[in-house]
């Protein structure tokens, strides 16, 4: 679309700018402020320079949380993206089944995150939860409150349950946008089902898949409520991801300085990876 040059457009954008800046700029400035200072209360601050940043970047605790976070996000992406695509491919394209599928699949997305955590907390309990009870009945010694492996398993399963539908919906939208003529031409060309997926469906879904990967990366990297309600970060700190660790430090221990420094490092990592993704996405758009 040809856009007209109009500086007055800033008036249109002003409400948005103010509201977001209000919420973003001011808190961010506070955080930056704290990250360079030390306080012992009573609003008295001492300049500390880059001490907090060095401390965080060298702390084992931070490395632990960061490592766990990356591993968690990696597993999430590797499971949810292919799974979401596979489910979208198997969904009907028309008929009453479409609304039924879409409505039922969207339900996990609309449940408050603490309820998701609580639901799985109970669902996976060995004594009274369906999952816990069934697994133990099959002879598997399963107790997520005490075993790190079980805790990870349950957390991942919960996130798959919670968010895969988002990937499904996005992939499905991408699939529906492919005109019939492509499938017809492939039929005439004698293409196999795999060939159709590889050469028609996957390329045409590239844009929505990039959005799906971006969203899932961001949200899983920032995850807080669900695992917190499920395991509290435990057993020990087995499932303490970055956000959980940060909140513990900031609101729990009130170590404002280190918490602020960690916040900035955290934010910076997310921004960096998203910036790379964003550019990849824009580059693809320009190409096509």
């Amino acid at each position: 679309m040809k856009k007209t040059l109009n500086q007055k457009a800033w008036f249109f954008v002003l409400p948005v700018f103010v509201l977001v800046a209000f919420n973003a700029a001011i808190p961010l400035m506070t955080v930056i402020n704290y990250s360079f200072q030390e306080t012992f209360g009573n609003n008295i601050f001492f300049w500390e320079g880059t001490r907090w940043f060095k401390q965080i970047l060298q702390s084992d605790r931070f490395h632990g949380a960061l490592g766990r976070q990356f591993f968690f996000t990696f597993l999430i992406l590797i499971i949810q993206i292919p799974l979401g695509i596979a489910i979208a491919l198997s969904m009907p394209k028309e008929g009453v089944g479409v609304s039924v599928c879409l409505v039922l699949m969207s339900m996990p997305l609309l449940i408050p995150w603490n309820v998701v955590g609580a639901m799985w907390n109970i669902f996976a309990l060995p004594e009274i939860g369906f999952l816990g009870h069934s697994l133990n009945a099959l002879g598997i010694d399963y107790n997520y409150t005490q075993q790190p492996f079980a805790a990870w398993f349950t957390t991942i399963l919960m996130d798959v349950w919670h968010w895969t539908s988002l990937v499904v919906l996005l992939a499905y939208a991408g699939l529906c946008a492919i005109p019939d003529a492509y499938y017809q031409a492939a039929k005439i060309d004698g293409a196999s089902r795999w060939s159709i997926f590889r050469h028609i469906e996957l390329p045409k879904m590239k844009k929505v898949l990039t959005i799906a990967i971006l969203l899932r990366f961001m949200d899983s990297f920032m995850i807080y409520t669900e695992p917190f309600v499920l395991t509290g970060g435990g057993p020990g700190n087995a499932t303490t991801f970055l956000s959980i660790d940060l909140v513990k430090m900031a609101l729990g221990q009130f170590d404002l300085g280190p918490a602020a420094a960690m916040s900035l490092i955290y934010f910076f990592i997310v921004l960096l990876i998203c910036w790379v993704f964003y550019n990849l996405m824009m580059r693809n758009e320009d190409q096509s």
């Binding site: 031409a185 005439i188 293409a191 045409k204 096509s288």
Partner: protein, 356 residues
């Protein structure tokens, strides 16, 4: 190459049909011989794409049969029929090079690489794609992409018939002309049956040896472009073909005599039938109306100079007409008389031509 025959073909997209309107195609009977260039012409929604998809196997008809060379193929899949179809917008495999796109149908059929190489190069040469052969297909312009679609159809040596579904829709006007000529050229070179579906009469009339005109799911007339122009068998053909279309005005038909605008109209062939119709019209193309000293009294309304000729709006008791006269001839002003060339004057009863 194949002779294509359609027998009593009817198709409806609905599960149950209650009336005429529920049928997309009504009782089509058609035969196309080997190697010809045919056009399916008609306005949007007349059923031509439906018909095309039934011939190519993408759609199974509700009633009737399709034959290739007298072999019934109504229920065979597209792959089994050995056809090629080019769609309205270019369908290419974005991730592959032009070469791989053209080779795709051959590779899927298990043909060996050493046979594929020369074949693809040959087709690329024919379509002027040799330079871009190793570029990514997605980088080509719209007409280049359509050529790739065409190429994928031509590259298979066993193709019976090639079908085009309004292939020039997304092409820029100045490139349309080049591509049109290319298609005609190709047909003469490879001599395969080609069926071209369009709503554009220029495309149909320049490409095809024979044109089939469709209207509301029915086959209205089949003939050469000249036949369609000179003797339309249905009012729709008269009005759709030619620019401006045929003049169609109410007239009276009684006992084989035609009365129009108070005058008796002479027809070349006498009408002997005594059938009655709810609607009778007289049809005469603007090209066949001329000024004379006597005949039908008309009032000259407007003279439009269209460059190559003049289009004159005239009015008589029977209604408004258009006539075409040469740029150099003098046009009378005010009132005059016109006569119709009896060889090209026809009467239509309930939209169909009345003969004998």
């Amino acid at each position: 190459m194949s002779k294509i025959s359609l027998n009593n073909l009817s198709h409806s997209y609905l599960v149950q049909q209650n009336n005429d309107l529920d049928w997309a195609l009504k009782d089509i009977d058609l035969e196309w011989s080997d190697g010809g260039a045919y056009a399916l012409l008609g306005p949007s929604g007349c059923g031509k794409t439906t018909l095309l998809n039934i011939i190519s196997g993408l759609l199974k008809p509700t009633k009737g049969e399709v034959y290739f060379d007298d072999k019934k193929i109504t229920h065979l899949s597209s792959v089994e029929r050995n056809i090629a179809q080019i769609f309205q917008f270019p369908v290419i495999y974005d991730t592959m090079t032009v070469f791989d796109n053209l080779a795709f149908p051959l590779r899927n059929r298990g043909i060996s690489e050493d046979k594929i190489q020369p074949r693809v190069k040959e087709i690329a040469e024919m379509l002027d794609l040799s330079e871009t052969l190793y570029n990514r297909a997605s980088g080509l312009t719209a007409d280049g992409k359509q050529k790739i679609s065409l190429g994928r159809g031509l590259v298979r040596s066993d193709v019976n018939v090639i079908m085009f579904d309004e292939p020039l829709t997304v092409i820029d006007p100045h490139l349309k002309w080049i591509l049109k000529s290319k298609l005609k050229e190709l047909h003469q070179e490879i001599n395969r049956t080609m069926i071209y579906v369009t709503h554009d009469q220029t495309e149909a009339l320049t490409f095809a040896d024979q044109v089939v005109v469709m209207h509301e799911g029915q086959l209205v007339q089949k003939g050469t472009p000249v036949e369609l122009f000179e003797k339309p068998k249905h009012t729709f053909v008269g009005h759709f073909i030619g620019s401006p279309g045929m003049n169609l005005l109410p007239c009276e038909l009684m006992n084989g005599k035609v009365n129009f605008s108070g005058a008796k109209i002479e027809m070349e062939k006498k009408i002997s039938s005594h059938k009655t119709y709810s609607k009778t019209q007289i049809g005469i193309r603007p090209e066949f109306v001329s000024f004379s000293n006597s005949g039908i009294a008309v009032k000259i309304l407007k003279v439009n100079n269209a460059g190559r000729h003049k289009i004159i709006d005239i009015e008589c008791d029977g209604g408004k007409l258009k006539m075409i006269s040469s740029v150099t001839a003098t046009t009378p002003s005010g009132t005059a008389y016109v006569k119709f060339n009896s060889k090209y004057t026809y009467v239509y009863g309930d939209d169909w031509i009345v003969e004998e």
